[in-house]
């Protein structure tokens, strides 16, 4: 029986470190903002302010209002579910923004007066909210 030599110990430590890093990379991949092409988050914020989404939702980047009827959207980009029910994916989110009751009849969120392009931009903005 021999104690690990210095070189072996170092080698094991290096392996452990590399494994940890790889795992981190996997974890990060799951948290990456969902990719959206041809969508403008800045335009999305402008739409949010014009339409008044903050009347129900507290939204980072919008100082007022800070509505409490709907959920706080801080960290929305990292959440797995929309409204605790639907998968948080771009196409689902866009449909939700335009006509939420059709996907969840019990919701308080009415259909919103958004075009497809506006909904895309809003979704893109919401997906930038990945910090709590």
């Amino acid at each position: 029986m021999g104690f690990p030599t210095t070189g072996e110990a170092m080698g094991r430590r290096a392996m452990a470190g590399a494994l940890a890093l790889a795992l981190c990379a996997c974890v990060d991949k799951a948290d990456l903002p969902r990719p959206m092409v041809q969508a403008d988050p800045a335009a999305g914020l402008a739409v949010i302010e014009d339409v008044g989404c903050a009347a129900c939702h507290k939204i980072p980047g919008v100082a007022w209002p800070e509505g409490r009827s709907g959920s706080n959207l801080a960290g929305f980009g990292a959440r797995p579910l929309i409204a605790g029910r639907l998968p948080n994916q771009p196409d689902v989110l866009i449909r939700w923004l335009i006509d939420a009751p059709s996907m969840d009849p019990g919701t308080a969120m009415p259909p919103m007066p958004l075009t497809q392009d506006q909904a895309r931009d809003v979704a893109a903005y919401l997906y930038t909210l990945d910090e709590d």
Binding site: D50, V51, P65, S69, P110
Partner: protein, 310 residues
């Protein structure tokens, strides 16, 4: 005030420019004299360093300038505040905490249409506003159209405003009235004269729940029922229904307004739902309670119903 849109605001801007130029000239004179006094050559200092400066610059010059300004000011104050004459359009606005009760009057001063928070006027003619208050002192101010006039309980003040062109003009309460005074906004919409009569005619009709592309008829019906069952009629009026409460704004044509909450939120189903559900988080202290008792679907239904009241 910097962007006047009518004949009761334009002259004020001119007055402002004249005053600003006057002030700038005087400032130059004062700074010049001061500069000479502090840093000037001895000969100049001697000219400035005596009682003569006081007599000329401190007495003669101001008396002349101020007299001129006074006459100019008195003549500019057009007959803004005279009582209404025959044939003038009249609107009565009553300040409430923290919204505006609007009533359109006929020439005898009788109220023909009630509304709230958004005042519609025909463009191109002076409109006499009759300003009152139901509770504390408020002040009616639409800067692009004219100055402000206070609304004082127990009194009726008159003020004329005119919008030269059709458009939307924002305003705000300008006398501290407690609580969310900062959120007591106002919208004035000016129409081309023929559009205006059509608008007034539509406004005077009672509510007809018109099914539109915005939601199925069932939801609107459900909303009407929830409205009736939740006691909303205790404060709100919807002409053509049994709702005839007077404590809050008239909702007969609320769907057609540009804003909610007295000028502070855009008006759509979403913001309407948010307002009904929790107006206290949007305008703390306002007189409408938050409705934590309504389910999500009920809130949506009422919002859809109210938005259908165009």
């Amino acid at each position: 005030m910097l962007d006047p849109a009518g004949p009761f605001a334009g002259p004020i801007q001119t007055v402002a420019w004249v005053l600003f130029v006057m002030a700038a000239v005087v400032m130059v004179v004062v700074l010049g004299a001061l500069g000479v006094a502090l840093f000037g050559p001895r000969k100049w200092k001697r000219r400035v360093g005596g009682e003569r400066l006081i007599w000329i610059a401190g007495l003669a010059f101001p008396v002349v300038v101020l007299t001129g300004l006074l006459i100019y000011g008195l003549t500019t104050t057009a007959r803004v505040a005279d009582a209404p004459k025959a044939g003038e359009m009249r609107v009565r606005v009553t300040g409430e905490m923290w919204w505006w009760r609007v009533a359109y009057l006929d020439d005898q001063g009788r109220e023909i249409v009630q509304d709230a928070n958004e005042v519609h006027i025909p463009a191109g003619q002076p409109v006499v506003f009759e300003l009152e208050s139901a509770d504390v002192i408020h002040s009616f101010w639409v800067p692009r159209l004219g100055g402000k006039t206070d609304m004082i309980p127990g009194r009726r003040n008159f003020m004329r405003l005119q919008a030269d062109a059709p458009g939307t003009y924002g305003g705000q309460c300008a006398e501290y009235c407690g609580g969310p005074h900062a959120l007591m906004g106002l919208v004035v919409v000016a129409h081309a004269p023929d559009d205006y009569s059509a608008w007034l005619e539509r406004q005077s009709r009672p509510a007809a729940a018109v099914p539109s592309a915005q939601g199925p008829l069932a939801l609107i019906d459900q909303g009407r029922n929830v409205f009736a069952a939740s006691g909303c009629a205790a404060c709100h009026t919807i002409r053509g229904t049994e709702a005839n409460g007077l404590a809050g704004p008239d909702l007969t044509h609320v769907g057609s307004r540009q804003t909610l909450g007295a000028g502070i939120l855009p008006n759509n189903r979403g913001t309407m739902a948010g307002w009904i559900s929790d107006s206290q988080s949007l305008k703390p202290g306002n007189r409408m309670p938050s409705y934590a008792v309504l389910s999500g679907q009920d809130v949506r239904a009422v919002a859809a119903y109210l938005e259908s009241l165009k």
